[in-house]
């Protein structure tokens, strides 16, 4: 995939401020471009979905991509956030901004509760436990009628509001038009990107990657694996909780049907498709997996078939994900193995000196 490498190479050699400016201008300018098409509100609405899934993918990327903890129940935290908004908004009249911190803390807390008993588990075993956990949350929501109205769902959730200056002075403006929600989602995506990409390059991020690569070695190097794994669970969950609030107030209706295992799998697919551990990769994965089915709408009943085939194709061509890190891959060819052995022996010689 030379084309990807060349592009990535060109991009990474530009100065940081140029890259920043280009991304911001592109993101802010998209709604203007959409006006040129015949369906601007539809495009904006799809992009709001893209934004929501981008944040979800970035959150899951902390857990799966960085720490290597295979979580199949991730959507449960999203559900916690969405239901926090639904219940607090319709029953107690809380606004969007009031619910945000509550949802983050609640989802993060539940992340720790899930994380604690599963600490000794790895790989497949962890996947099964988290899968069960995701189902427990969904079935609880479906049965806790007095709080969640069960399968009937909760309707009439208020849209997010921002202070706005109009001719009547300072007012609370309800954001329900897709363009308005787009900019709001953009703020969330930007925030999540800033946090997760800095996290990845921090001491914590490196420690998480070390745990992913070899937990015992990481522990031997003095990394507090227990604390860090819990932290990974909690922070990943908090992202899902926060964006769940946006989801609930955008759709205005939540019901347990929106939080099935399939959703967890889709978010996981975004992380894997984009490239495990890569923050931008997770965003790209989310973009592709939301936009592709929309582009294929013209094929009506065949669209999911084509969608699935396209996914298989990508994974065959690039098993480490589109923006996956080549170096973290297992050496596959004899030549690569030989190179790796050589570099290892070189390091050994360095150590002797």
């Amino acid at each position: 995939m030379d084309i990807f490498k060349n592009l990535a190479g060109f991009w990474s050699t530009r100065p940081a401020w140029v890259r920043f400016l280009v991304v911001v201008l592109a993101a802010v300018g998209v709604p203007l471009l959409a006006q040129l098409t015949s369906q601007p509100t539809y495009i904006m609405n799809v992009l709001v979905s893209v934004g929501i899934y981008m944040v979800l993918a970035m959150g899951l990327n902390i857990v799966v991509g960085m720490a290597g903890l295979l979580d199949l129940g991730y959507i449960a935290f999203f559900a916690v956030g969405a239901y926090s908004m639904a219940i607090l908004s319709t029953q107690y009249g809380w606004t969007f901004w009031m619910v945000l911190p509550v949802a983050a803390v609640l989802a993060g807390g539940i992340g720790v509760v899930l994380g604690a008993p599963t600490l000794p588990l790895r790989g497949d075993y962890l996947a099964i436990v988290t899968l069960g956990f995701g189902e427990i949350i969904r079935i609880t929501l479906n049965n806790l009628d007095w709080l969640t109205r069960g399968p009937q769902g909760i309707a009439g959730i208020k849209p997010p509001m921002v202070p706005w200056v109009s001719n009547g002075g300072l007012i609370w403006l309800e954001l329900y038009q897709p363009v308005q929600l787009y900019y709001l989602a953009l703020v969330f995506v930007g925030g999540a990107w800033l946090i997760t990409s800095r996290l990845k390059n921090s001491r914590i991020g490196r420690a998480l990657v070390a745990i992913r690569e070899d937990e015992i070695a990481a522990a031997a190097m003095g990394i507090d694996t227990v604390r860090l794994k819990l932290l990974a669970f909690a922070s990943g969950a908090a992202f899902a909780g926060v964006i769940g609030v946006l989801f609930a107030s955008q759709i205005s209706f939540v019901s347990p049907e929106s939080f099935t295992l399939f959703e967890s799998v889709i978010v996981l697919a975004m992380v894997v498709l984009g490239g495990m551990g890569s923050v931008v990769g997770a965003m790209l994965g989310a973009f592709i997996l939301v936009v592709l089915p929309e582009l294929l709408r013209g094929f009506s009943e065949y669209r999911l078939l084509i969608f699935g085939a396209a996914l298989v194709l990508v994974m065959l061509i690039r098993p480490q994900g589109i923006l996956g890190d080549d170096s973290s891959r297992e050496p596959t060819t004899d030549r690569e193995r030989a190179q790796e052995d050589q570099s290892l022996s070189e390091t050994k010689q360095d150590l002797k000196v």
Binding site: Q39, Y42, Q152, G298
Partner: protein, 379 residues
């Protein structure tokens, strides 16, 4: 090289996707010339695809009829399908697509209540009228939106009908109630419980089963011990069929009552010979022979119960456009609201202030010779 080709294929697919998009848009812009668009939104793919497919087919029949007579306002009608996969998020996206399609004046849909409710919010903001053929949740029309209508009766219209039948015709004194913990099944079971309790009948058990389960013997054995006169199930035909056959195997002979989700031929197939004492409420069909015959000759299958509602919904929408004399969305909504004594397949249709059908188009059916037959009120 192989890889390049594969990439090329993906690109081609994507471009083809884009291509499809632009053609619809192009159609959209020509709408002012010779076409009027109506949206039909439902679960065209996914687990409930059978209903979505049926909606498209039934709406197409209504559209074909009108187009054969020269269309509406001198323009031909074309359907814009919207696949919500039975998912709330998808439904909101589909709704946005419908509202931003030029020349689209109304939507027949959505099917699931969980889709119709979030979609109705989007349609309301765009003043686009929606007529749901399948969403029975009371919440949909209780939101107070002026643009929302439905053809199917609400859970709290159908439940009482079944309850009254149990009280008056079956003279039940004790009932057991099961539901499948879905919005539809639970809503219906709650409505049934409310009115049967108001009628002085004792509810011995009210319990949920999980959709997708196949063995209900545990809960049925428990019910048998409580010995109710009647058993009500809020849910759809798959579980209902199994519940009836397993109940009869266990020697539970109580009357079996259920709603329109059960009025499907495969329910009768599952039940087989154990078809006595089954009473389900379902779509009233009095003038539908012609529709059923046309449907069968065109698609080689019988429609589901919701096909008739979709057909009626489409015809009401098209009649409203004709009466409004305009493709203005607000005027069409008003015209739908003003619908008076429309001759539907299940009888006369009027809407009440909330957008619900004024009289619930339901009858009680029982099974005879592997067919659903109406129970005459005097029986």
């Amino acid at each position: 090289m192989k890889r390049r080709m594969a990439v090329g294929t993906v690109l081609a697919l994507t471009l083809a996707g884009c291509g499809g998009e632009t053609t619809t848009n192009a159609d959209g812009t020509t709408a002012t010339g010779g076409k009027i668009f109506i949206g039909v939104a439902g679960p065209i793919s996914g687990a409930q695809a059978v209903f979505g497919e049926d909606m498209i087919r039934s709406a197409q029949l209504a559209v074909d009829e009108i187009n054969a007579q020269g269309g509406v306002l001198g323009k031909t009608i074309e359907i814009v399908p919207g696949d919500d996969q039975g998912d709330a998020r998808q439904a909101a996206t589909v709704a946005q697509k419908m509202t931003s399609t030029d020349g689209l004046v109304g939507v027949v849909g959505h099917f699931n209540s969980g889709c119709s409710i979030p979609a109705s919010q989007v349609y309301k903001r765009a003043d686009l009228v929606m007529l749901s053929p399948g969403s029975t949740s009371p919440t949909l029309t209780e939101q107070g939106f002026k643009n929302v209508f439905r053809l199917v009766g609400r859970d709290d219209q159908q439940g009482p009908l079944s309850a009254n039948f149990a009280i008056q015709q079956l003279k039940s004194k004790t009932v057991a109630i099961l539901n499948d913990k879905t919005a539809y099944g639970q809503g219906l079971a709650e409505a049934f419980r409310k009115s049967i309790e108001a009628g002085g009948v004792k509810v011995v058990i009210f319990e949920g089963v999980n959709q997708g389960e196949r063995d209900f013997r545990a809960v049925l054995t428990k019910i048998k011990g409580l010995n109710p006169d009647s058993l009500f199930f809020g849910g759809v035909f798959t579980e209902a069929g199994l519940i009836v056959s397993q109940a009869r195997e266990l020697g539970l002979t109580a009357n079996f009552l259920s709603g329109d989700g059960t009025q499907v031929q495969s329910f009768i197939d599952t039940v087989g010979t154990k078809s006595s004492k089954i009473f389900v409420t379902g779509v009233r069909t009095i003038n539908s022979e012609e529709f059923l015959a046309t449907y069968k000759s065109k698609y080689k299958e019988s429609p589901t119960a919701f096909g008739t509602y979709t057909y009626d919904a489409t015809r009401i929408l098209l009649a409203a456009i004709a009466r409004a004399g305009s493709v203005d969305r607000v005027k069409v909504t008003e015209a739908v609201r003003a619908t008076k004594d429309f001759q539907g397949l299940g009888g006369t249709i009027n809407f009440d202030a909330k957008g619900d059908p004024a009289t619930a188009p339901f009858d009680v059916f029982t099974v005879q010779d592997k067919k659903f037959v109406t129970v005459t009120p005097t029986a």
